[in-house]
Amino acid sequence: MGSASLARLNGVFAAYKPPGLHWKHLRDTVELQLLKGLNAGKPRAPEQRVRFLLGRVEGSEEKELSLTATSVPTLTNHPLVCGPAFTSLKVGVGHRLDVRASGVLVLGVGHGRSLLTDMYNAHLTKDYTVRGLLGKATDDFCEDGRLVEKTTYDHVTREQLDRVLALIQGSHQKALVMHSSLDLQTQEAYEMAVRGLIRPMSKSPMLIAGIRCLHFAPPEFLLEVQCMHETQKHLRRLVHEIGLELKTTAVCTRVQRTRDGFFTLDDALLRTQWDLHSIQDAIRAAGPRVAAELEKSLSLGLGPQQPPGAGPQWDGEGPGSAFNGRTLGEAAGG
């Protein structure tokens, strides 16, 4: 029945956004496909209504007028008269991807949209694969932008690139701790910092938790970036800046998100799988994982909205005196 299918359609799932498709278009396509699936279900049984009709009934002595209740079919709720049963669905989008990027895009349906907010507040990291090209500089940091500069890149070696990346990671590590508004004078904070598990739980500029080079074949190079509070444009600018650090120039050819929180590429549904049953299965599969991760996030510490004082007291700066640090590896590793 339609209502049972609709009840199974409350939760989050991940879709794979191909490059060249706007995220809104993807969301609309998913909604249309879900509506198509829901409306194609079993049609309602024909309904009846009771009418009291006047007629001659054999009474005790003679015929008399009386009302008889008859059940007659009614067309008021026929699908051809009132239209399809489902005309709109509420589908929300998690962290967005711009048109040229591709990768995992988390969508929430129905009551699952509140889980999207929870995931946002958990401030989990995301994994990206960024492909760069040495030797060119353009105005929008992409390969097809307006060309600004061309340089040579023969002097660039793998060690130089690794050194630059280590520099970037180090500076962002410091920024991570700073933005997490944690008082480092305490023992617990020190231990967490030593293990490298601190991250900010409120708004902050783009922070890179980890960056390394997967593949280097000049002029092309492939980076893996773990970051939070980013946009894809920041990542492209990062590639440009890496080129500048290497005393050459670079543009970004591809940005692909391989992990968003605990959804990886394997969980992402391709375009051919954007239909009712696949999405219902994906929601069911992801349900327990999402619940577990969010519970862990909540139990480990307090989010920015929760009142201070529920956890251990810190004298740190930042919004309230609540404990804002969070373990990186557990929640993000998935």
Partner: protein, 412 residues
């Protein structure tokens, strides 16, 4: 004077206090309201007797399995649908059955109605009809469908009333039509034309304006098409695929056919085949066609005979979106390096989505099988590239599994 079951339902919709009238005044009152009502609405809900209910539901025009004779559990749906829409709710364009307007004026010079507290006999009490009134104006046909035989028969034919009610003029017209007098002739005419019973519903849903067309005009237009050597089956197919065809006057049809003959410079027979395959060329606007012809000639650089060949194979190219055409052509010609003469042989590429062509081409390039030159070995023709479903494409052309294709798509 006893009432017959015949007379009562005809005025059951009147909301006035006249309903609580005693037997002595029944005679006067019923003659007058009955007559005014007949004047007021020509073809109003004809729920003549309760026998009617038990008959119409089960003799259907379409083999719908929804309506059957099995006794369903009675749901207490007591006229809830009728009373939900109040006259004050309507912000949208309204349909006005207006069968009450004359009634109120006639009743003013009669004997004033008796007080409701006056005792009356059992028989008269039973004869009081106190059904909730039909809303005088509404934004949906749901309120009237149970009281209008025309609407019920249309629903059983398969007409989608929920789409027609979005056009208030059409809905108003439908409420006032009489099935026996007007619609039946039209349906018989359409059946003569060759439209099957189960296709009548979709046809009427799309072309609700045909109810206001004159039957003679329709016959003239069909005769005109036959004079142009369109066979009966051709005409049926054209009308089925382009429901608005018969609403066009003979001059307009003539102009359109002449335009296509001049513009495309095809033979008469080929133009006829083209129009039969895509009759919406005759009903749609001509501007996109003119623009597309210019695009093919000037922007994409096809010669006139090439364009003629492509159009006879895929008539849809004439009405395709200009931006999509240029995007696909740009990708196929510049990225896939397919020359013009091969594209002409497979115009199906213009009918596919760009992402499909891109994904499949990139997969073949990754596998090293992207060979579109007929002279070389392992040649893959464009129509096999785009027209096949994924499984067959993966098995035969790419010689890989569907899982490999999906894994590849996730690396794009």
């Amino acid at each position: 004077m006893a009432l017959t079951a015949q007379q009562i339902p005809r005025w059951f919709s009147s909301i006035r206090l006249n309903s609580f009238i005693t037997a002595t005044q029944l005679g006067n009152h019923f003659q007058r309201p009955g007559k005014t009502l007949l004047r007021g609405f020509s073809a109003q809900p004809q729920m003549s007797s309760h026998n009617c209910f038990l008959q119409w539901g089960f003799k259907t025009y379409r083999t719908s399995s929804i309506w059957n004779n099995s006794s369903q559990s009675t749901k207490q749906e007591i006229n809830s649908a009728e009373s939900t829409v109040l006259p004050s709710v309507n912000e949208q364009p309204q349909k006005i059955p207006n069968f009450d307007s004359e009634l109120s004026l006639e009743g003013l010079d009669d004997v004033p109605p008796l007080s409701p507290l006056q005792p009356i006999s059992e028989e008269e009490a039973v004869q009081i009809i106190a059904a909730p009134p039909l809303p005088p104006a509404s934004f949906t046909l749901r309120d009237y469908v149970d009281h209008s035989e025309t609407l019920q028969k249309l629903v059983l034919l398969g007409v989608n009333l929920s789409k027609i009610e979005k056009h208030p003029d059409a809905a108003n017209l439908l409420l006032r039509l009489d099935f026996e007098k007007d619609i039946k002739q039209l349906l018989l005419f359409l059946k003569d034309l060759g439209i099957e019973d189960n296709q009548l519903g979709t046809f009427l849903t799309k072309n609700y304006a045909i109810f206001s067309e004159d039957l003679e005009n329709l016959k003239t237009r069909v005769a005109y098409l036959q004079s142009k050597n369109f066979s009966k089956a051709d005409i049926a197919q054209m009308v089925r695929n382009a429901p608005f065809l018969l609403n066009f006057s003979v001059e307009r049809l003539d102009n359109r056919l002449g335009f296509f003959q001049k513009e495309l410079e095809l033979s008469v027979k080929k133009t006829r085949d083209l129009v039969v395959r895509l009759p919406r060329l005759l009903t749609g606007s001509l501007e996109p066609v003119k623009e597309n012809m210019k695009v093919y000639r000037l922007e994409l650089g096809f010669k006139h005979n090439e364009i003629q060949h492509m159009i006879t194979k895929i008539p849809k190219m004439l009405t395709a979106n200009k931006r999509k055409l240029t995007e696909i052509f740009d990708y196929v010609h510049n990225v896939m390096s397919v020359p013009h003469h091969i594209i002409v042989r497979f115009p199906q590429v213009f009918n596919t989505r760009l992402f499909k062509v891109k994904e499949r081409h990139l997969f073949l390039t990754y596998l090293g099988r992207a060979q579109y030159d007929p002279a070389k070995p392992n040649y893959i023709s464009l129509d096999r590239l785009v027209s096949m479903p994924d499984e067959i494409f993966c098995e035969e052309i790419a010689k890989a599994s569907v899982q490999d294709f999906e894994r590849f798509l996730k690396t794009l």
